[in-house]
């Protein structure tokens, strides 16, 4: 299951989580009984690693409640895909509905939580995840603005830094916003960070990572929670 890779350079003595492990950690923290939307990218992976023993209903913007894990290849159905256009299954109790109802659920405040990807998150919870402004890469807003405006809670799942090593958690988003001040918690490949009125609070860090190292990769000032834990995922 684990595909974590060791980081190179700077003599860093820590191991980053894989995309699936980021999704798993977020899934573990979803409260029992929640109705949760999974956005494109790392979030949709969470459907494959939902914790045992909790009943959580997954919503997909394309008209599904009760999304189950990916099917075996032989059981793929071209009419049953998620927001990332990946094959999924339907759990008992699941339902299908028209797009305008899918977004009534979203915009109407019926979802407990939405897990989204991000290009940038600011220290005040501003989210940017729909356009890079580069004409070679057309923008794509999808349901992100509706989710950001309508879900009761927004968690972001992302790599901690860009492929070039630049911070994705920034003082001010340089990219156009999806919504201001909506992100409540950030799950990255090295930490779990809460967005609070008093600033960013580190809840979890991968073993071997120091707060100083984490701060170097994060623009806004970080505070370590008194009860912080090591970020360890199966």
């Amino acid at each position: 299951m684990s595909t974590a890779v060791s980081t190179s350079g700077q003599g860093a003595g820590f191991t980053k989580l894989s995309r699936l492990q980021i999704a798993r950690r977020a899934a573990e923290m979803i409260p029992d009984g929640s109705f949760v939307n999974l956005g494109i990218g790392i979030p949709t992976l969470a459907a494959n690693v939902m914790p045992e023993g909790k009943e959580i209903v997954l919503h997909s913007e394309n008209g599904i409640l009760g999304v189950g894990p990916a099917p075996a290849e032989a059981d793929r159905d071209r009419d049953l895909i998620n927001a990332s256009k990946e094959y999924v299954t339907l759990r008992p109790g699941g339902s299908f509905f028209v797009h305008s109802d899918a977004f009534a659920m979203i915009r109407g405040g019926h979802l407990d939580l939405a897990l989204l990807g991000a290009f940038q998150v600011a220290g005040n919870g501003d989210l940017a995840n729909w356009t890079t402004g580069d004409r070679r890469f057309p923008p794509g807003v999808g349901g992100a603005m509706d989710l950001a405006a309508g879900a009761k809670g927004i968690w972001v799942l992302t790599d901690h830094v860009t492929k070039k090593g630049e911070p994705k958690i920034v003082n001010t988003c340089s990219l156009p916003l999806t919504a201001p001040g909506v992100v409540k918690r950030i799950f990255t490949d090295i930490a779990v960070i809460d967005v609070t009125e008093g600033g960013l609070v580190v809840r979890e860090m991968v073993p071997g990572l120091t707060l100083e190292q984490l701060q170097e990769m994060t623009e806004p000032p970080l505070t370590l929670a008194d009860d912080w834990k090591e970020l360890v995922v199966a």
Binding site: D77, D79, V98, H99, F103, P139, M145
Partner: protein, 228 residues
């Protein structure tokens, strides 16, 4: 005289499509896309089209082929960028296609408003972002909302699972997506279905799109996999 909306083939289904038309196309990703009808529009030669669809086509067939033909001048969608959206990406980069990007829930609600006779609605989606620029913002009970206007079309091309001769429809799983709300919002709703059943066969409790919203139905029984 019996009502019969079933037409013999794709050409008859899209008959009357003309230059400058605005066309809604159902589907999300590769699920629920009416590829046969899209190719019917392509074969008709109609140009200067505005397309309203969630995505902007992938691969070499369906919407990607229509865009690749250069006959789509404008697309209104929420998520054009996808793996394989090369046809759109190239035309967009070259400035050869106009893009109106609309948040997905606003897109579907604008259709619903058009079909339901609602002149506009205020939504919290997009407040404080570039996509709300130039739009009226109004505060209700302490929260800002953006005014959005109805979105209608000359034609809607929809894929459904089953129809009867009145045009009652049921869909298959997540291939339902935009179909029912596009059927509300177009002057002429054209549907391709995998199965036609006798009138009265469908459970009235389970009909998703009632017949009043449908104009033409064509039976497409080939189950080919398109390059989309």
């Amino acid at each position: 005289m019996p009502i019969d909306k079933i037409v013999p083939d794709v050409a008859a289904a899209v008959a009357g499509v003309k230059d400058g038309d605005t066309i809604m196309i159902s589907g999300f990703g590769f699920a629920g896309v009416p590829n046969d009808l899209i190719h019917g529009v392509l074969d008709s030669g109609a140009k200067d089209l505005t397309v309203i669809s969630n995505n902007a086509g992938t691969g070499t067939e369906g919407l990607a082929a229509l865009i690749g033909s250069g006959r789509v001048k404008r697309i209104i969608c929420s998520y054009p960028r996808s793996k394989g959206s090369d046809q759109f990406d190239a035309r967009y980069a070259a400035g050869e296609i106009e893009l109106e990007l609309v948040p997905q829930g606003t897109l579907s609600e604008r259709m619903r408003a058009a079909g339901a006779g609602v002149a506009g609605f205020y939504t919290p989606t997009g407040v404080g972002t570039d996509l709300a620029e130039g739009k009226e913002v109004r505060n209700f009970e302490g929260r800002d909302y953006v005014l959005e206007l109805p979105l209608r079309a000359d034609l809607a091309l929809v894929q459904a699972y089953k129809a009867d001769r009145w045009g009652n429809l049921i869909y298959s799983k997540a291939a339902r997506n935009f179909g029912p709300v596009m059927a509300l919002a177009a002057d002429l709703t054209i549907v391709q279905v995998r199965e036609i059943v006798p009138l009265g066969d469908m459970d009235p409790e389970a009909i998703v799109t009632p017949s009043i919203f449908v104009d033409r139905v064509v039976h497409i029984d080939n189950d080919r996999e398109w390059d989309i």
